[in-house]
């Protein structure tokens, strides 16, 4: 099948152009919960504005330069009886022009860039909420010094109040990434990296570790739940009250069995069930409110009974290499533990956010 060169070239050019159009459409947050193109936080918005301006410059340069290239290919392709090649060697004026024009475009990109760099490098005014973020292989720990709360995988923040993240790692390099709110920052050992953002609206925002950190880097996710101030205060109040595991109702024999298992099997050696003043030095994520969380296994599995059972049956099956070993639990043990962990619920998602994943 012979496609004329003209059409072939046009086909080749069309694909990326179409892509560019799709890029603009691609940012619908409902389809892409982790997108960078639908910012809901001030930091992400500043970054997005800057980014979009570079996209327009790039699109313009792309159309112009590719267009000239394609035009040249069509116009100057060899034809029988066509003109001979013009034997010119260069043109100093053109060299100057096509040095200065790109340089000028870059100045137009550079100025807002430097402004944004310095603007986002400063802590916000006012009274930011300090949250310590600690990366582990392969989950995120969050501590709220202001409230003496420790939790994991799900970070609650108030809408409209600046959040001051102080981030580090407990082991290897990770990168805390929350695309719709605050872009990303790597975390290191022994010193804090800082990131500030203010959530602009309520929602559940997905994020993932963005620095290769070992075998389960691919399943180290988290959620940032921005709640209206009243909802956030309610969450804080309930988590602050969780200074001991939630007691189990006397009649719930299955959960009582689970409670006994939790205390006598390896669980309590790695996990705490209280958010306030948990025992120091535990290697596993804090499980306070595990019954009410959206996800388990570091943000990678929906928190259903079936998934909880699957995890307990053998964590290595779902997340090979994770530090939690296969405990060799029987099916009865697993049922009991699931029932128990379900009772460990102190705060649930605000109703306004319940629809979101």
């Amino acid at each position: 099948m012979r496609i004329p060169p003209a059409a072939r070239r046009r086909l080749g050019r069309l694909a990326p152009l179409l892509g560019l159009v799709l890029l603009v459409l691609a940012g619908c947050a409902e389809n892409y919960p982790q997108t960078t193109l639908a910012p809901k936080g001030d930091f992400a918005r500043a970054v997005d504005t800057l980014f979009r301006s570079t996209v327009w410059w790039a699109a313009g340069v792309f159309v112009l330069v590719e267009g000239v290239l394609l035009f040249a290919i069509f116009k100057y392709r060899e034809r029988p009886g066509g003109p001979e090649a013009s034997q010119f060697h260069g043109n100093a004026l053109l060299e100057v022009i096509w040095t200065i024009i790109p340089a000028t475009i870059l100045v137009f990109i550079a100025i807002p860039t430097v402004r944004t760099i310095f603007r986002t490098a400063e802590p916000p005014p006012g009274d930011p909420l300090v949250i310590e973020v600690i990366g582990h292989q392969w989950w995120w720990e969050f501590r709220y010094p202001e409230f003496n709360i420790t939790t994991a995988s799900e970070m609650y923040v108030p809408v409209g109040r600046p959040v001051d993240l102080r981030m580090r790692t407990a082991d290897v390099l990770h990168s805390f990434w929350i695309p719709q709110l605050a872009a990303k920052r790597d975390v290191f050992y022994g010193r804090d990296n800082r990131l500030w953002f203010t959530a602009e609206e309520a929602g559940v925002f997905s994020g993932q570790c963005a620095e290769f950190c070992g075998i389960q880097h691919g399943r180290m996710a988290h959620r940032v739940i921005a709640a209206a101030p009243a909802d956030f205060d309610a969450w804080v109040a309930r988590m602050s009250a969780a200074s001991a595991p939630v007691p189990v109702f006397d009649g719930d024999s299955l959960a009582l069995a689970g409670q006994a298992l939790f205390a006598t099997r390896a669980c309590v050696g790695c996990h705490a069930l209280r958010a306030v003043d948990p025992p120091p030095g535990l290697v596993g994520p804090n499980l306070a409110n595990i019954g009410g969380r959206l996800t388990i296994a570091a943000g990678s599995l929906p928190n259903t009974d079936a998934n909880l059972a699957r995890w307990l049956r053998n964590p290595q099956e779902y997340k090979q290499g994770v530090l939690m070993p296969n405990l060799g639990l029987s099916e009865d043990d697993i049922r009991a533990l699931v029932a128990y962990l379900r009772t460990q619920r102190v705060a649930t998602l605000p109703p306004a956010l319940a629809a979101t994943p």
């Binding site: 982790q34 590719e66 392709r77 060697h89 090979q320």
Partner: protein, 607 residues
Amino acid sequence: MATTAVEQPHPHSGAHARATGVWSWITTVDHKRIGILYGVTAFFFFLLGGLEALLMRWQLGAPDNTFVSPDVYNQLFTMHGTTMIFLGVMPLSAMFFNFMIPLQIGARDVAFPRLNAFSYWVFLVGGLLLNSSFLLNAAPNAGWFGYANLTSKQFSPGLNVDFWVIGLQILGVASLAAAVNFFVTIVNLRCHGMRMMRMPMFVWMSLITQVLLLLAFPVITVALILLMVDRFFGTSFFIPAGGGDPVLWQHLFWIFGHPEVYILILPAFGIISEILPVFSRKPLFGYAAMVFSGALIAFLGFGVWSHHMFATGMGPVADTVFGLATMLIAIPTGVKIFNWIGTVWGGSLRLKTPMYFALGFIAMFIIGGLSGIMHSVPPADLQQTDTYFVVAHFHYVLFGGSVLALLGGAYYWFPKMFGRVLGEGLGKLHFWLTFIGMNLTFFPMHFLGLNGMPRRVYTYPEGLGFELWNRIETAGSLVLGASFLVFIYNIIRSRHHIAPADPWEGGTLEWSIPSPPQEFNFPALPTVYSRDPLWEQRRTHGAAPEPTRVSGQGIHLPNPSFWPIVTALGIAVFFVGFLLGVNLWVILAGGGITALGIFSWAFEPAG
């Protein structure tokens, strides 16, 4: 310039019957044979790297896929990157350095033929060692840039990272030796009349590449030494608990790593600058601007390394400096693109396969360059870095750039190297499969990255919207795989089509001798009076007749030698000693063999 030395008849020269047989290849010091060795070996490794990519793409073709385990996936992506860079693109470029540079500058061989052979054998040994790790299910698995402190003994207790460190160290020796060789060759062995500003552009870009190799590789050598002693002896260069700083690894790595990407692309720039003029039937536009922009890109390339580290929190001043420096590199790069278009403009374009690849290169490299500019904006990069957006960017510049150029160079120079012409129909099919395949595979990665897919993940969940693009990319990768099958078939079929000395009406010296060249290259070393000496000749004297093969009597050629491979094996044994738990006997044995090799080499009878 030195006075002309008279070439005396020499007992070893006579009618140069081409030696054949395995021993003649093992002891060869002929740059053309060494070039072919590099090419065949590198092509094999390139296909291996491609297979690794196909396996990765298959795993990513569906969410929560279990085609490969996470551990295997991490080995695959690490080896894919390491293989493509160090065992694919670099040695494929070395194939062209080896074969074409002496021909293009009118020389009989490189400055140090035995060192040349040595470089190849060390490369082979390094590549084999690196890949032998697969046999132990211990292939490197910490990424091709091996960030500390994941690579420490504590967090990577197996042999994987040891293989990576040792393998790369060995490959570094090969690169450094070759860089010294080609640097001296280009500076010192040009024929009469070939001033620097008359050299073919491929030679210029290669010269700049050798300088980059000489200056960048020592830095990664040191980084690998520090990592090695951390792992083998317990120092704390990159261990926070001992006072070390993992960020030091990043700095050292990227001070090497950024010039490395220019090492990967400059030879490609050179190849394109050879193909475009020939197939446009006019000289390269802006020769001087091309030389200076190439040099400027290389120079500036040493000043931008921390643009790989924008997410590490270096502070606004460092971010600004490296962001602006990175933007600056766009200017000479743009100059090159415009000069290439200027070369095409006003020409009489013969749209043969090499030209398809060259034009495709320009189109794809523009896209890669533009995403690079997006990366140069530090705040924006905080979203893009470590996502599939970066993966898209570097595949556009490395595949759409380096690989397309290498393929174009393959079609362009295949006749000269093998005396056969590759088929045009199959060549164009190869091109379109490649072009469509690469765009299907890599363009959607821009979207995935911006929509939140990080890189180096062995899977992704449902519900994030990643499925459709990943499926398309997997399909695209299969098209790319098919394109290489077409290429191989084209190569096999070419054995029926004999090539003349000058199938393309080229302007540079390699087209003045038979295809393939005789062992001594030129019966008499040429003198040139301009760039594109063959076009000059055509203008003044008309087209030259097909050159005949002559006896070569009286031409002195270096003797074959077996000490380069011995020395290479000595180095391999030395490093393997470290891999075997720092076995002192093996290390000393390796050192001994290396010393024996070097001394025998140095005192080999002159020939």
